[in-house]
């Protein structure tokens, strides 16, 4: 059942962003990317996104809103541990993995492939 809800929730998030991108054509991919990330972060500030993740698994984790939610989650965990300094140390606490993997794999991809379209 988790697969089904992952499909539905992930699909709905993507469909919503697709709709926004077609409806407001002046928005660049940068706007959409940052918009969805920040939305995920804010929603998880109220602890709501983690509940969506429990419900839909990868369907909620894979869209970039899941990345935003992980930023907030990391910050909150670090704040519990350190106090206000956690606001700074926690930002990349959980998402550092994703960022480092992104840099590593794109470097490897750039080395082994030629530019093409």
């Amino acid at each position: 059942m988790i697969y089904f809800w992952a499909f539905v929730v992930g699909g709905l998030i993507c469909a919503l962003m697709e709709y926004i991108s077609l409806k407001f054509q002046q928005l660049t991919p940068g706007h959409l990317l940052v918009g969805l990330t920040v939305t995920g972060a804010i929603v998880n500030g109220f602890g709501l996104y983690d509940r969506l993740v429990e419900f839909a698994g990868a369907g909620a984790l894979l869209p970039v809103s899941g990345f935003g939610a992980a930023i907030t989650r990391g910050v909150m965990e670090e704040m519990r541990r350190l106090g206000w300094e956690g606001l700074l140390t926690g930002t990349l606490e959980l998402v550092g993995l994703g960022i480092a993997a992104g840099v590593l794999f794109s470097t490897v991809a750039a080395l082994v492939s030629a530019p093409r379209g």
Binding site: E18, S21, L22, Q25, Q26, P29, A114, P115, R116, G117
Partner: protein, 336 residues
């Protein structure tokens, strides 16, 4: 001195120069399109053996220019000027091609209106007695234009329905006082028009007012109507821009009907999913120098008004929230 001018904007040549040789060299997608059979050569590889598409674009321009010289039966030494322009920053495809050609170079920028601006300047130089022959060339490339104006293709950004697909290829022509080929009888250099279209993904809408303005100015100056032409070629307004253009022209009291053809709307078939249609400096250039010239040689068209349109924004002006100015340059081609 004013004998060659009619009206406020138009030049009427006393001894109309001729297009004595032309060559269009297009990419794979263009070759598969509805006008594919008109092009002189197709290169099946977007990269044409180069590592970067910018280098391929240069190659398209240079090869088209050299083959146009062959078609005209002349060598570099017989040509007095090489007028070229393209879409790259600092028109590097043109200037880098000019290195090896060794012909005095005049660089022009009019975005996708480069074809008619180049041919117009060439005709003026020839009819003015400043040159015997002038080589005109332009090129564009899908991948280089995407990288410079929008996003690198590898980023996989979704295209909008109003997006146009930059044509890949090079096109060149030799304009001369003597020889065989259609004559350039009139030239109307256009004004830059800006109706405040801020969406750089909607270039057709940004260029339609310029096309309308130049068309009306030309009609006014030469006292002509659509009935005086067999074909009115605009380009590259594509689907949405063409619709707007016809509506704007209709509002001014002219009906173009079946005589209007848009280069951007003709280069690809809908099955090729080009969005609104084609664009790029080579789009109007290739339709004019391949399709129109060949149909004129067959006698299907005798008098053609070509209105190439260009959108004059760059990536920075778009990011800074500026609107997109458009421009359109017109010329009349005549048989005989």
């Amino acid at each position: 001195m004013t004998a060659k001018r009619v009206g406020q904007f138009t030049v009427q040549f006393s001894q109309p120069p001729r297009i004595v040789g032309a060559f269009t060299l297009m990419g794979p997608r263009e070759g598969q399109g509805p006008l594919g059979k008109y092009f002189d050569a197709i290169v099946d590889d977007y990269m044409w053996g180069e590592y970067q598409p910018e280098k391929a674009e240069r190659k398209f321009l240079e090869h088209a220019a050299r083959r146009a010289l062959e078609r005209a039966g002349v060598s570099e030494n017989d040509v007095d000027y090489f007028i070229a322009g393209d879409l790259m920053n600092q028109i590097v495809s043109s200037t880098f091609s000019a290195r090896s050609l060794g012909i005095p170079h005049i660089g022009v920028f009019a975005a996708c209106a480069t074809s008619t601006l180049g041919l117009s300047l060439a005709a003026m130089l020839v009819d003015g007695g400043f040159a015997r022959r002038v080589l005109v060339a332009t090129a564009s490339h899908y991948q280089t234009a995407e990288r410079q104006y929008r996003y690198p293709i590898e980023l996989n950004i979704q295209r909008k329905p109003t997006n146009q697909w930059t044509a890949t290829g090079g096109a060149a022509a030799v304009v001369a006082a003597e020889g065989e080929g259609p004559r350039i009888s009139h030239v109307t250099v256009g004004r830059v028009m800006d109706w405040g279209v801020k969406d750089a993904n909607h270039m057709g809408a940004a260029m339609a007012p310029a096309a309308m303005d130049t068309l009306l100015r030309h009609f006014q100056d030469t006292n002509t109507t659509p009935a005086d032409f067999d074909l009115i070629l605009t380009g590259d307004l594509a689907q949405h821009g063409s619709k707007l253009f016809r509506e704007l022209v209709k509002r001014e009291g002219h009906t173009l009907g079946g005589k209007h053809m848009d280069a951007g709307a003709s280069l690809y078939s809908p099955e090729q999913q080009p969005g609104a249609g084609a664009s790029g400096a080579v789009c109007s250039a290739s339709v004019l120098l391949a399709y129109v010239l060949k149909e004129m040689a067959k006698g299907r068209y005798r008098r053609v008004l070509a209105l190439a349109t260009g959108c004059l924004h760059n990536a920075l002006t778009t990011q800074q929230g500026d609107s997109c100015p458009g421009v359109c340059h017109a010329l009349v081609l005549e048989n005989g």
